[in-house]
């Protein structure tokens, strides 16, 4: 969807055009679903959280507030709801400092090279094992296919840090995939 199209739909939604709002929701629904799905451990909760996200956005519009970048606003709302979810569930996250202490030993033996083209389930498992901070950026970059500039607006991080997070996250995914294979 072009930015101008989005702006027109937003304008119409603010003026009370429900079909315009419906169109915006349809366009972003799948992407936001994927974002929430990979970020929370409880997959059943994804649909509930998604409803909550869109309702919150709608409330914001009903109050007459202006949204300049609908996509960024939608993701930021999703982030906040996920944080609230974690706070409620009191989930434990591994901090970045803890990660740096882990020894990520790369497999040097060519004989033990594994074929990553197989199991998408294994990739998903490995993705869910890495810390949320890395996972979030990897999901936004490779699953939602957003540019680093856009991710920076959503997360508040600068593009250089984001690239580092992606690189570290992918290293961990690779490590977990390798340990999975060797089991």
């Amino acid at each position: 969807m072009l930015r101008i199209q989005e702006k027109i739909l937003l304008y119409r939604a603010r003026k009370g055009d429900q079909s315009a709002f419906a169109r915006l929701c349809d366009y972003y629904r799948e992407k936001i679903y994927q974002y929430v799905y990979f970020r929370i451990p409880d997959q059943e909760k994804t649909e509930d959280l998604l409803s909550e996200i869109f309702t919150k956005v709608l409330d914001y519009l009903i109050k007459g507030n202006e949204i300049k970048n609908f996509r960024a606003f939608l993701y930021q709302t999703a982030r906040n709801i996920i944080v609230d979810f974690y706070r409620e569930k009191n989930k434990h996250e591994i901090s970045l400092d803890e990660i740096s202490e882990l020894e990520i030993k790369e497999e040097k033996d060519p004989a033990k090279e594994f074929d990553l083209k197989l199991d998408l389930v294994k990739i998903e498992k490995a993705l869910r094992r890495i810390p949320d901070r890395y996972r979030e950026v990897i999901v936004l970059r490779y699953i939602n296919e957003l540019p680093f500039k856009e991710i920076a607006k959503i997360t508040g991080e600068n593009p250089t840090s984001l690239r580092q997070l992606v690189h570290r996250g992918l290293k961990l995914v690779k490590k977990y995939l390798q340990t999975d294979v060797t089991k």
Partner: protein
Amino acid sequence: MKQEKEIINGLKRLAKTVRPDQKWVEKNQAYLLAYFKENFPYQKGNFIFYLKPALVSLFIISLLSIGSFTVLAETKKSLPGSPLYSLKRAYEKIILKLVPQEEKPLMRTEIVGKRLEEVKVLAQNVEFKDSEVPFPVKKATEELKKEIISLKKEIAIKKGEKISDDLADLPIRDNRKIVEVIVQEDLEKLLAETKEKIKEKNFIAALEKINEVEKILTETEEEEVLPLQELEEKNQELEEKEKEAPPLPVVQPSLKTDSNLEKENNFKIDLIKE
């Protein structure tokens, strides 16, 4: 690095498999629309809301149209030397090309009328210095002559005649006189009559009228018009020459006999010799 690429490809393929359930999507959509309607009533019958973009576009189009009409109006009034004048001439050329062959003489007559009008306005407004014709007036006069030739050709074609460019350059001795001649009301009247004849498809009469126009314009060619001072000087020179030259002998008429005839012939020869 290669393995990282494979992981990335794996993630992209994974994305395609993760989608919300279609039934849930429909349910969610209905819920959101109901919520919207409840809290944000739909403005029914407010067709102006939808007309707004159309109204804005219409407004812009009308502004552009008014702008172009203004420019067109100014172009029609423009005179030689104005930046819009070339646009005016180009417009006339285009119209001439688009007009059917039958109506071309009439169109040309109108163009001649316009050229005449331009000369008239310029002659009235431009300042004459030392009896010299200002360049814009000169140029306008040239253009008028060209248009008259074109018109004559056009009418002649209708009559089935061939016309050469015989409207020669007028001798520019006393430029003021030429300008006065061109601005004459007679010329305007003749042009109007030419137009009438063309409308009636009486091309013979139209050609005659144009010939009269040509005559008016070429009148000054026949008379050698000099400024007064020069005339006086020339007269003086002629008088002096006459004084110096001996008078011609007076020849008495005689009966024409053979001998007389011979003498006459000899006399003529003598005269020639002298």
